[in-house]
């Protein structure tokens, strides 16, 4: 479904991503691990068309995503949900509005929005906090809002870049459970993390990166660095 084909990304002379080749199957739960600066986030930025590769190509299904015209990039991005360590919620929108925004941007009808948003809020267990602003929510709650916003438009892939980096163990556990639940419903998940405990408990495929290169790719991996 996603294929990195000999991808290299240079920033000035430094190779953030160096000659990376691997594929991701539909429905997989893939973890990418590595030290800070190993190239995980650079790789995800390429997948989101926030950056262009210096050489090589990234395919989504059969499309070379860096050949998509600028006007069609938003449509492509709606097929990928994103969750980040720093949550990236709209500070002036309530939890409900944050989630509804993804549907509004995708041009869904008001009826769809009114029926889907409460359902997703229910899924992440935040129905009671729908009208709260981000600054009124805890870190774990913010991340659950972010996940709800990422999955509301039923993307094919959910990218979670260090989603638990700012969370305590209990909230970390909750977030991973939610991600597993989303994966069980069929969404492909790409997770990056530093958390050894998560990786070892997941027992899913692990790609290990170092200095921009993929150095291990294990089907039922452990956190080895």
């Amino acid at each position: 479904m996603i294929y990195f084909d000999n991808v290299t990304k240079l920033y000035s002379d430094h190779a953030a991503v160096s000659d990376v080749t691997f594929g991701i199957e539909s429905g997989e739960f893939l973890s990418i691990v590595g030290h800070s600066g190993a190239g995980k986030t650079s790789l995800l930025r390429l997948l989101l068309v926030e950056d262009r590769p210096t050489s090589g190509a990234v395919f989504f299904e059969k499309t070379d995503i860096h050949r998509i015209k600028a006007a069609h990039v938003p449509e492509y991005r709606r097929r990928i949900g994103t969750v980040f360590q720093d949550f990236r919620l709209f500070p002036n929108k309530t939890a409900y509005e944050n989630i509804a925004f993804a549907l509004e941007a995708a041009g869904r009808t008001d009826e769809e929005i009114r029926s889907d948003v409460p359902q997703v809020l229910e899924l992440v267990d935040l129905a009671s906090k729908a009208l709260h602003f981000p600054h009124e929510l805890s870190g774990g709650e913010k991340q659950r809002v972010a996940i709800a916003r990422a999955i509301i438009s039923q993307p094919d892939v959910l990218i979670a870049d260090e989603p638990t980096g700012n969370l305590d163990p209990v909230n970390t556990y909750d977030i991973i459970q939610i991600l597993k639940k989303i994966n069980d419903m069929g969404t492909t998940i790409i997770l990056t993390t530093h958390n050894k405990g998560i990786i070892d408990a997941l027992k899913k495929r692990v790609v290990t990166m170092e200095n921009g290169k993929v150095i291990r790719d294990d089907a039922h991996g452990k956190y080895i660095l």
Binding site: A71, N92, A105, G107
Partner: protein, 310 residues
């Protein structure tokens, strides 16, 4: 998505952001109000200059004094021929009787003069033609024409006693220079002030949008297309412009009112600013509103653009 739905969502988002980013909105409105106020004051002031200059120009004229024995019919002949000149705006005929009446009225407080006049059997004053040109620079041409009329008037016609143009020439020339100079300078000042207002407004809105740059990045990541990202900011820019136009127009009320009191003695009791403001309230507001809305919208559009590049 239907145009209607997306427009409605964009407008609503713009309104909501306007209210929820109250601090940013207030500061943008504050700066824009000052900018529009400056523009409004400049409009008032340049109109004031225009009307003052117009008034001064109206006070300039050329008077042709006729001999007391000049025939009225000859004077009218000359009047008609002068009226055919394209430079002439109007000619007022003052008869001998009118001239003496004006003179008496002017000196009604002067007991000696009134007595002296009463002694006279004959009216010593001749008739007068009071000529106004369309432009102060044209008096010279008119005076020349009168002079040549005077020279070719023929045997019976030593009609003209004197023409006061040459006496006024220096003043008229000077006034023409000043008028042209003031008009040019005030136009240049108007342009400079408007340019400053545009730059200040643009930078303020750019700053307001800079605050939102991360939100713009998130919107794009969530899959919003450029017009859906940009739209609410443009709506906000328009609202800044609308509110600022109202504030600036309202602010002109106390200022012109104060100017009326302050300049009452200065311009001989003629109040320009306040009455102009009251009489042209709709036009002033319309100019500031259109200017503010346009400025706000264009500034927002340009300011967001730099965050929309892939």
């Amino acid at each position: 998505m239907g145009m209607f739905t997306s427009t409605r969502r964009i407008v609503r988002a713009g309104f909501i952001n306007f209210w929820r980013n109250a601090v940013v909105s207030l500061s943008a409105i504050f700066v824009m109000s000052i900018a529009l106020f400056v523009v409004g004051s400049t409009i008032l002031f340049s109109n004031f200059l225009d009307s003052t200059l117009e008034e001064i120009k109206n006070k300039v004229d050329v008077n042709v004094y006729f001999n007391p024995d000049a025939q009225e019919s000859d004077i009218f002949l000359m009047k008609r021929s002068l009226e055919e000149l394209p430079e002439v705006k109007s000619i007022e005929y003052i008869s001998r009787d009118q001239a003496i009446a004006n003179f008496k009225a002017r000196h009604s407080n002067d007991y000696l003069m009134t007595q002296a006049l009463d002694e006279l059997i004959d009216n010593p004053l001749g008739a007068i033609l009071n000529i106004k040109a369309k432009d102060t620079s044209q008096y010279e041409a008119i005076a020349k024409r009168i002079k040549s009329d005077q020279e070719t008037a023929g045997p019976g016609g030593n009609l003209i006693y004197s023409v006061n143009f040459s006496k006024n020439k220096v003043v008229i020339d000077k006034l023409t220079d000043i008028t042209n100079g003031v008009e040019k300078v005030s136009f240049a000042i108007l342009l400079v002030l408007i340019a400053i207002a545009i730059v200040i407004t643009f930078n303020t809105i750019r700053l307001a949008i800079y605050v939102s740059r991360e939100e713009i990045a998130i919107m794009r990541l969530v899959g919003a297309n450029n017009s859906f990202v940009r739209g609410p900011f443009i709506v906000e820019g328009i609202m800044y412009g609308m509110v600022a136009a109202i504030v600036a127009t309202a602010l002109l009320y106390p200022v012109t009112h104060w100017l009326r009191d302050a300049t009452q003695n200065f311009y001989g009791g003629v109040d320009f600013f306040f009455s102009y403001y009251i009489n042209h309230l709709n036009q002033i507001f319309a100019i500031l509103l259109v200017g503010g809305v346009f400025l706000g919208a264009v500034s927002s559009f340009l300011a967001v653009r730099r965050y929309l590049k892939v």
